[in-house]
């Protein structure tokens, strides 16, 4: 979904943007330049984000004609249909999977980002490239490959069987953990990059100061490193949570009948049932849930920013 990965342009906290510059009163000329530079992005967002959102919202109120084409109208059936308990349980499952994915990604990505940022030395760029480049490959192809790795006779289960951890009935595919493994595999890089950026620009002398004050490694980590990289972690969480919530490929390839996610239902409505209006209504429901999450994130970063500004004074 194109809508979610937008960094907050004001805080600039999502992309690695380097240390904040001291504020100076910009000249009128500079202001004009910035306005022009913003224009393409603004137009892009207006056309492909706002306009599509409006279109989806309008479609949600429509009906279909006999050829299955969406017809605009004002019809609340699709909205009331969302009251169906089946949607609620699938939505809750998706939320649960997405949140778990975020937690696991955080746990997996932090050590990786930490090691590269603070101990990568001259290999830093190479290591980051090694993580990012595979993600240039088509998402679907990667997921297909992953499903091969996890399949009943795949290398992972074979290895686990040979050391006695798994037996012949152990399965990863068509289970909840299988789907979450797929989601983590698919999106973990979105966690590594912002964490790496945050760790990279962190002032290392803070850690040394913590040690000088007799903080053990753990204490230093939780009292110094973690708070200093909180924004990077928050950005990573959002970047992982949003696509994980809307994903349907993982549940399709790695899940069974009990692992359907909201993305699968939406995909069904558009591609199988040819019920675009209901698919749109479901999409809006998902967007609403995601918007609430996003709101929480924005409030959080705003507060952080304020705190920083106060601390700087």
């Amino acid at each position: 979904m194109a809508t979610h990965t937008t960094p907050d342009p004001r805080t600039g906290s999502t992309p690695p943007s380097g240390p904040a510059k001291p504020r100076r009163g910009p000249s009128a000329k500079a202001n004009r330049t910035w306005t022009w530079l913003m224009l393409p992005g603004t137009l892009w967002m207006a056309a492909f984000l706002l306009a599509s959102l409006v279109l989806v919202a309008t479609l949600a109120l429509g009906t279909t004609d006999p050829l299955g084409n969406p017809r605009f109208g004002f019809n609340l059936d699709n909205i009331t249909a969302l009251g169906d308990p089946a949607y609620r349980s699938v939505m809750l499952r998706s939320l649960g999977y997405a949140l778990l994915t975020v937690v696991i990604c955080l746990a997996v990505a932090y050590p990786v980002a930490y090691a590269i940022a603070l101990h990568g030395g001259r290999f830093k760029n190479f290591l980051i490239a090694a993580i990012v480049v595979p993600f240039f490959a088509n998402y679907l192809v990667r997921m297909y490959g992953w499903s091969v790795v996890l399949s009943d006779d795949g290398p992972l289960l074979k290895a686990l069987r040979s050391i006695g951890i798994a037996d012949g009935d152990t399965r990863i595919l068509q289970t909840g953990p299988g789907v979450i493994a797929g989601l983590v595999y698919g999106f973990v890089v979105f966690m590594i990059i912002p964490l790496y950026a945050a760790l990279e620009r962190m002032d290392v002398s803070l850690i040394e100061a913590g040690r000088d004050l007799y903080g053990g490694p753990l204490r230093t980590f939780f009292h110094v490193t973690l708070p200093a990289t909180r924004q990077g972690a928050a950005a990573g969480c959002v970047l992982v949570f949003l696509p994980a919530m809307g994903d349907f490929v993982s549940a399709q390839l790695m899940g069974g009948p009990d692992q359907i996610m909201i993305g699968n239902l939406i995909q069904d409505k558009f591609f199988q049932g040819q019920n675009w209006p209901l698919g749109s209504a479901l999409t809006m429901l998902m967007m609403a849930v995601l918007f609430l999450g996003m709101l929480g994130y924005l409030r959080r970063t705003r507060k952080d920013e304020k705190d920083e500004a106060e601390a700087a004074q």
């Binding site: 979904m1 194109a2 492909f48 599509s52 279109l55 989806v56 479609l59 009906t63 279909t64 006999p66 050829l67 299955g68 084409n69 969406p70 017809r71 605009f72 059936d77 249909a81 169906d84 089946a86 949607y87 349980s89 699938v90 088509n138 998402y139 679907l140 297909y144 499903s147 091969v148 996890l150 399949s151 009943d152 006779d153 795949g154 595919l173 068509q174 809307g246 349907f248 490929v249 399709q252 390839l253 899940g255 069974g256 009948p257 009990d258 359907i260 239902l265 939406i266 995909q267 069904d268 409505k269 558009f270 591609f271 199988q272 049932g273 019920n275 675009w276 209901l278 749109s280 999409t283």
Partner: protein, 395 residues
């Protein structure tokens, strides 16, 4: 995926592969296309037009077509559904080019038509042929101008006046197929019960797949319960959902990739299209390890046909192409290439030889019955079926 049609793997086969090899060219193409379309989800809406299905927009669809070369053939079908040698022969004989593009679902095909793409020949399933005809989107096909039409309509009278196209004015049937149960003989034995009940068999518990297809899944449960295949009745649909709920403990997944699921052992039993089973015979290391049965409660049947869109630029070439495709030697080549039987008199032996281990794949004139087809429902009925399907899938 179209609810009734896709005679082949779904866009996203829910399958695991012990090695990447079994992913056929056909399913890979379809997978990629679906992903491209699918990853946009809701936003795909912006890509398609909303033209009204109104005859006046599409001009006079009743004008007879001059059967002559009037340009290159713009062809639109499932990927890999015609023997390339047959294309080559057509290009050579008529001095034209075949410009191919492929769809991955009936919905996708119609969406492309609605977006204003112009094709000379398309291949809708029965249900979609009816919708397109009702929407005045097809040109009339005068059978008397096709030299080989007699081999279809003379031998399969069912198609002279099918439910989806009264008088067969707008379509010529191309392939027919049935839905049954495929299983691994080497894993659960040589014989099943010959009923849809077999999907509940203890021997296959936890290793059963059903197609990821609304009509097929609701349909087999309806047949098992003795209900109308395409029922729209809320009470019926409730019973169907209940029946399918009792199948869940046995079920490993919804997937239209029966082909890979059976071959790589993720499934020991799966609902399957007859054409996929025929394709497996050619692909399996040991075909005798596979079985295919048609349930005694009945098997859904379906057919795809040739049709010429009303805005086709080269309808004359399209007519020549249909006629060329109906020549017995070309029918035989295509049957062997795609594994589906075609309702063309004189080609039955070719197909019978191809599927000799699975005679259940054969579709005879007796199998073709109106009430074994998935039909178009009312708007309300479709919604009710949709809701039932959501319950079945979401559990």
């Amino acid at each position: 995926m179209s609810p009734e049609a896709p005679p082949s793997p779904s866009p996203l086969p829910a399958a695991a592969h012990p090695s990447p090899a079994p992913l056929s060219r056909r399913s890979l193409l379809r997978t990629g296309a679906a992903a491209t379309a699918g990853l946009g989800l809701g936003l795909t809406a912006s890509g398609c037009g909303f033209l009204p299905a109104d005859a006046s927009v599409y001009g006079d669809t009743e004008a007879p077509i001059d059967v002559k070369v009037d340009g290159d053939l713009v062809y639109f079908n499932w990927a890999d559904f015609v023997d390339p040698a047959v294309f080559a022969g057509f290009e050579k004989e008529y001095g034209v080019k075949v410009i191919q593009s492929n769809f991955d679902s009936m919905e996708g095909m119609v969406a492309k038509l609605n977006a204003g793409n112009r094709y000379d020949i398309i291949f809708p399933s029965a249900k979609w042929a009816q919708r397109l005809t009702a929407g005045h989107r097809l040109r009339r096909i005068d059978h008397s101008k096709l030299r080989n039409a007699e081999s279809v309509f003379g031998h399969y009278p069912y198609f002279a006046d099918p439910w989806y196209d009264a008088g067969s004015h707008y379509t010529v049937p191309r392939i027919v197929y049935k839905t049954g149960i495929g299983w691994r003989k080497d894993k659960i034995g040589d014989d099943l019960g010959g009923s849809w009940d077999d999907l509940w068999s203890a021997k296959a518990k936890g290793r059963v797949f059903v197609l990821d297809d609304r009509d097929e899944v609701l349909g087999f449960a309806a047949l098992k319960l003795g209900l109308d295949l395409a029922t729209e009745d809320e009470g019926d649909l409730g019973r169907i959902a209940e029946t399918l709920r009792s199948l869940r403990p046995h079920l490993r997944g919804f997937s239209s990739d029966s082909y890979n699921n059976l071959l790589n052992g993720n499934a020991v039993m799966t609902q399957a299209w007859s054409g996929d089973m025929a394709a497996m015979l050619a692909q399996a290391e040991d075909p005798s390890a596979l079985g295919f049965e048609i349930a005694k409660e009945g098997s859904p049947v379906n057919s795809d046909c040739y049709a010429i869109p009303s805005d086709a630029r080269h309808p004359g070439t399209a007519m020549l192409f249909i006629d060329y495709m109906l020549r017995p030697e070309n029918v035989k080549k295509n049957i062997e290439y795609i594994g589906y039987p075609m309702p063309v008199g004189g080609t039955e032996d070719t197909y019978a030889a191809l599927v000799e281990p699975f005679p259940e794949c054969l579709v005879s004139a007796d199998d073709l019955k109106d009430d074994l087809y998935f039909r178009n429902g009312t708007a309300k009925g479709e919604q009710a079926r949709d809701a039932a399907w959501t319950h079945v899938k979401a559990g």
